[in-house]
């Protein structure tokens, strides 16, 4: 699997360019120009497919199976698990902790992705359209660095930042002794994830804004439109599609993000236990592999739905 913060998702077509352009013109079927032949081509594709099948497809499908058993990490059910049908799913329906995890994940996605990264990313892209290159490069460097640094490093940076005794936040705000991660865990996570992921939205909106025809912006200026009016009437119609697809994508990533574990481990007392952390805790702390599989499967379904909508929107746009 990929790093917690940047699962690689293939390209979203940048406005103004077709994605996947074909060289050689649309003259007919793709030609086997090196004389590979279908047989050898299948042989070329096989190793990759094998690995993908084994470590991506098979686990996804196996989740379904384990989810209907009572498989456990230890005890009798570890050696001979039995099928328990849908009882894991009914358990999830009634599980207060699971509802808690869902609610917290919703807050997390809403706060840090839908609002946080989107707004901050767009603001940066908009405000820096015509900044001096030196200024823009500096700002972008910091924003990008937050994205690039490994997740464990970044998590520790923020643990240090939020620390009750020596943390920089307390020094800055003059509030010594505030245990941020304990008293306001979700708020801390939201701020953290906004900081972490804004770079992607910023770059995306930057490209999208470049594709807005300058002549339209200038026309608006000539008739005296204010900044807000220009944004609303000229810019947003052009980037509406990008806002939607970007939001879907970063929401998907955020909902699956394991980083909260690195900061709070879901505590204190489940107060910041988002779904990924919940799955881990149930599976490896609690040892309930069957139940956590059922929840994982629910997450897969959610991912699938969002991805399908996302891809359909992308296709329609190109």
């Amino acid at each position: 699997m990929t790093s917690a913060s940047a699962p690689p998702v293939p390209a979203e077509p940048v406005p103004g360019r077709g994605s996947g352009r074909r060289s050689g013109g649309g003259r007919g079927p793709a030609r086997d120009v090196a004389g590979l032949g279908v047989g050898r081509a299948l042989g070329f594709v096989a190793p990759a497919m094998l690995l993908i099948g084994a470590f991506l497809i098979f686990p996804a499908l196996w989740t379904i199976y384990i989810g209907v058993t009572n498989y456990r990490l230890t005890g009798v059910e570890a050696v001979s698990p039995s099928i328990v049908g849908l009882s894991n799913y009914t358990k999830a329906l009634n599980d207060a902790l699971f509802h808690n995890a869902l609610w917290l994940t919703l807050l997390f996605v809403l706060g840090s992705a839908i609002i946080g990264q989107n707004v901050l990313g767009f603001t940066l892209a908009w405000v820096m359209r015509r900044t001096r290159p030196a200024v823009r490069r500096t700002v972008e460097a910091f924003v990008l660095l937050a994205w690039i640094l490994p997740s464990t490093v970044v998590a520790y940076l923020w643990v240090a930042f939020y620390d009750r005794d020596g943390g920089t936040l307390n020094s800055l705000l003059g509030t010594p002794g505030t245990a941020w991660l304990i008293d306001y865990p979700m708020a801390c996570l939201v701020v953290f994830n906004t900081w972490r992921g804004t770079a992607f939205s910023m770059m995306l909106y930057s490209s999208a804004l470049q594709a807005v025809p300058p002549s339209q912006l200038e026309s608006a200026r000539m008739v005296g439109a204010s900044g807000w009016q220009t944004l609303r009437d000229v810019v947003f119609p052009h980037i509406r599609g990008h806002v939607l697809t970007n939001t879907l994508l970063i929401s998907l990533w955020t909902a699956n993000d394991f980083s909260p574990f690195l900061l709070t481990k879901g505590g204190p007392n489940h107060e910041s236990e988002t779904v990924p952390v919940y799955i881990y805790n149930v599976a490896l702390q609690g040892g309930e592999l069957g139940y956590s599989s059922a929840i994982s499967f629910l997450l897969l379904i959610a991912n699938l739905l969002v991805s399908l909508v996302y891809l359909r929107l992308l296709r329609r746009r190109s």
């Binding site: 699997m1 594709v45 660095l145 997740s151 620390d163 770059m203 994982s296 997450l299 991912n303």
Partner: protein, 273 residues
């Protein structure tokens, strides 16, 4: 210069400053603490020393975990590049039955089956395969996870290589092997290099997979060791952690700069620009 214009300029710069500080301040620690004789968790002007560096280098597991990271990530990068190159070339040039469905499926897979969603079955599977506590196992899982996106990115790259190179060689009598070796590989080298870096970088920072699968401390890669040290706490670790964070971050930042200078922000996160 109207007052509203001046006010707007001031407001603009205040905003930029505020945002830049928001991003920069939490990072400052990694610049100051490694060289601070009395490192705390806060950012303050350091009491310059290289003592922490020495402690880190002497730490029994710190540098060793970097080696582990290197092993895992190089293996992953090479495997991903090799398998993705073969697959993407075949998918780009040959009309394999079901190709479009396959490509769509790959696209879907790469975003649906995340580490979080698959963590339980992966754990169980590796446990039953006896690949728990194996760095090779970690590399396998990460390779599988990175392959779909890698194939996609590389296929776009191969699509852009003019087919006339291969056709020309073919008309001059070159066999398939000669064409691949003499023409395709050299022309595709930049794309392959980029994917190798991309795969390396994506696996270097990966926490969940090795955290899940590796038990013994001497096999932990850097990402996991950091967490172990954090959990342990203690004053020694407070000296080691900053330096280690810095060292652990350097390869990733350097590689990003390299790729960024050549290709822009292109392949990371999937935006093509």
């Amino acid at each position: 210069m109207t007052t509203s214009f001046v006010l707007r300029r001031i407001g603009f710069y205040v905003l930029i400053c505020a945002i830049t500080l928001f991003f920069a301040v939490p990072m400052l620690w990694i610049a100051s603490a490694p060289f601070d004789a009395s490192p705390g968790l806060g950012v303050h002007w350091p009491d310059w020393t290289l003592e922490n560096v020495r402690k880190t280098l002497d730490h029994p597991y710190a540098m060793h975990s970097m080696v582990n990271s290197l092993l895992i990530c190089v293996t992953t990068a090479v495997a991903v590049t090799a398998f993705a190159a073969l697959a993407s070339y075949a998918l780009s040039r040959v009309r394999i039955p079901g190709r479009d469905a396959l490509l769509y499926g790959l696209l879907l897979l790469s975003s649906v089956v995340t580490g979080t969603a698959a963590m339980v079955p992966i754990f169980v599977m590796m446990f039953q395969l006896g690949l728990i506590d194996s760095r090779f196992g970690v590399a396998l899982v990460m390779t599988g996870g990175l392959l779909p996106a890698a194939i996609f990115i590389l296929k776009d790259f191969v699509d852009a290589v003019p087919k006339s190179y291969e056709e020309s060689a073919r008309v001059f009598g070159a066999s398939t092997g000669q064409i691949l070796r003499d023409v395709v590989l050299p022309v595709a080298r930049p794309g392959l290099a980029t994917i190798m870096v991309w795969a390396f970088v994506n696996s270097w920072g990966n926490f969940l997979v090795p955290f899940l699968l590796i038990r013994s401390i001497d096999k932990q890669p850097g990402a996991v060791l950091m967490q172990t040290l954090t959990d342990e706490g203690g004053s020694v670790n407070l000296q080691v952690l900053p330096v280690f964070s810095l060292l652990f971050s350097i390869p990733v930042v350097v590689l990003y700069l390299l790729v960024n200078s050549r290709y822009g922000f292109r392949f990371h996160g999937g935006i093509k620009s």
